[in-house]
Symmetry: C2
Subunit: 323 residues, 2 copies
């Protein structure tokens, strides 16, 4: 165990997965737990699909497609193309290899395994040494509220390609969902060193994790720094609809607005990592009561990912040493 203690990373999909792989390159398996949002999960064609868990697993396994930016490398699309020819629902892009993940997970859930166990088994089969946890074993489903009505998240995200104007979100099932047990246990563990909020969508990736019953209280009660990494760089989301959502919600699409969003949870985030290009926003974020670290947050390769992880870990240690 490094002296910085155990690191708990809260992650959405692709952006979070990048920082997660950076952290995994810097931390021993026993020093890192990655908790993934599951509010994007849905059942499609009878398969339980967990996009954020899969993005993180595939990235940690080194099997993610870096060019396409999602899914598996060397993917083929035979099943989906054939299904389309049969008149089936082909809007959700399921690759052949990816489908095997969903078939196996769905089968294990049918056999009575919970999502944590199914995830742990998939991780083992994929050769992933670090711990990946779903935020909850209970179903939570993001519903996107739009000008033209409510949409299940994947219908909004994939089928409608984020076109509808967002007015808000609700997380169906969240009031009854229990945070995954090891997630809560880590938050209460004296060995915990820091909590990192990955550069993920604050509305639909991070908020569902934070709003699980008991999570905010546990985060506030634990004496370690909570550090968030901006998912917005130069006013743009590097991936996904975060910036578009911010504008539609009447927010600025800026790192500062993300920090302000997290500041709605008083006492939650102590440190905020800002991209060099957004250096001018540092004072405004500090005014929200957060310490700020300015660094390169754009992860184009393994070097960038490891570097950002190292900076985040050092920043957290610094905050812990100088509260």
């Amino acid at each position: 165990m490094r002296d910085g203690g155990h690191i708990l990373a809260l992650s959405g999909g692709v952006g979070g997965a990048k920082l997660a792989t950076g952290l995994a390159s810097r931390l021993a398996p026993e020093a890192l737990t990655i908790v993934c949002n599951t509010a994007d999960d849905f059942v499609h064609l009878g398969l339980t699909i967990c996009p954020d868990l899969d993005s993180v697993m595939y990235a940690l396994a080194g099997r993610n497609d870096t060019e396409r930016g999602w899914g598996l490398a060397n993917e083929t699309w035979t099943v989906l193309e054939t299904l389309g020819g049969l008149g089936g629902e082909a809007w959700f892009r399921l690759g052949d290899q990816d489908l095997a993940t969903h078939l196996q997970r769905s089968q294990r859930l049918r056999e009575g395994a919970n999502l944590s166990k199914a995830t742990a088994e998939l991780c083992r089969a994929l050769g992933i040494a670090h711990r990946v946890l779903p935020m909850s074993n209970d179903p939570v489903r993001t519903v996107v509220q739009t000008a033209s009505g409510e949409l299940p998240f994947q219908h909004y995200f994939v089928r409608e390609q984020c076109r509808p104007e967002v007015t808000g979100f609700r997380f169906e099932g969240i009031a009854a969902a229990r945070p995954q047990a090891d997630f809560l246990a880590r938050l209460a563990d004296p060995a915990l060193g820091a909590v990192l909020i990955c550069p993920s969508n604050p509305f639909v990736s991070v908020d569902p994790i934070l709003q699980l019953p008991g999570v905010l209280d546990a985060l506030r009660a634990c004496p370690v720094p909570v550090v968030a990494v901006t998912p917005i760089v130069g006013g743009q989301a590097l991936k996904g609809p975060a910036a578009k959502m911010m504008r539609e919600l009447g927010l600025a699409s800026s790192a500062e607005a993300v920090a302000a969003w997290y500041a709605r949870y008083p006492g939650l985030v102590q440190g905020f990592m800002l991209d060099e290009i957004d250096r001018a926003q540092q004072p405004a974020i500090e005014a929200l009561g957060m310490r700020v670290r300015v660094t390169n947050t754009v992860m184009k390769n393994a070097g960038d990912r490891g570097m950002l992880a190292s900076v985040a870990l050092a920043f957290a240690q610094e905050i812990a040493g100088h509260p």
Copy 2:
């Protein structure tokens, strides 16, 4: 409509599918209905798989793999291989294109379509003009009784590769299953010209159809010839475990023994089609009260399939004309 009336073919998988394509090459879409055994069906990885329906559909669509002898041509195996790597159940050989059929069928069943409707939709998507019906929309499941206990059919057939010694069969659910409505309607239709029992396994492909409540009575009540085509040629099954099963059940593995098996249903079969190589068995089969037609029953190509279909149709008309 040809003057021989509507033809109803009762079929299992691969062997039956060959004659079905022969019949389809000789008969207009409105002159042929193919009723498929569904007692081989099973739910695997959450998918409803109907091997006999699929064999018939794929053959009629001209998409079956003639070299391998089952499944689809130009098939790939990415999902199954990936699933195996994840520790999933990979013993049932699901090709990528084939999987699309199962996903779509399962989805339609979940949406409330019955198996007839799901089958009709798949046939339409595959460009099949002739009517293919499941024998029933209710689940019937063949259980193979063996010296070492009972096995679900696909476990016996695929996982155990027909190795266990067979002592008998039972068809779970058959007492409560209703024959598909259009199947029964065809049997009662004055336009019916003949019923053909395809060269399929008499124990696990044809018997489940015959033993559906009401089917035997309806077959005996209809005034048209019932003609069976031998699935055993020169003592061997051309495909599948029929000959092995016959020996294990203490029967001769011969065409004559198949005829004798059908003769257990008194008054059912009027005509039996025997291969030239088994010509010597003609008197013994005639002694069972059946008329016999000796012809080439081995279907190696489209010509053979069409020829056997023509001979079967002519034989049935001959019987109808000379009762």
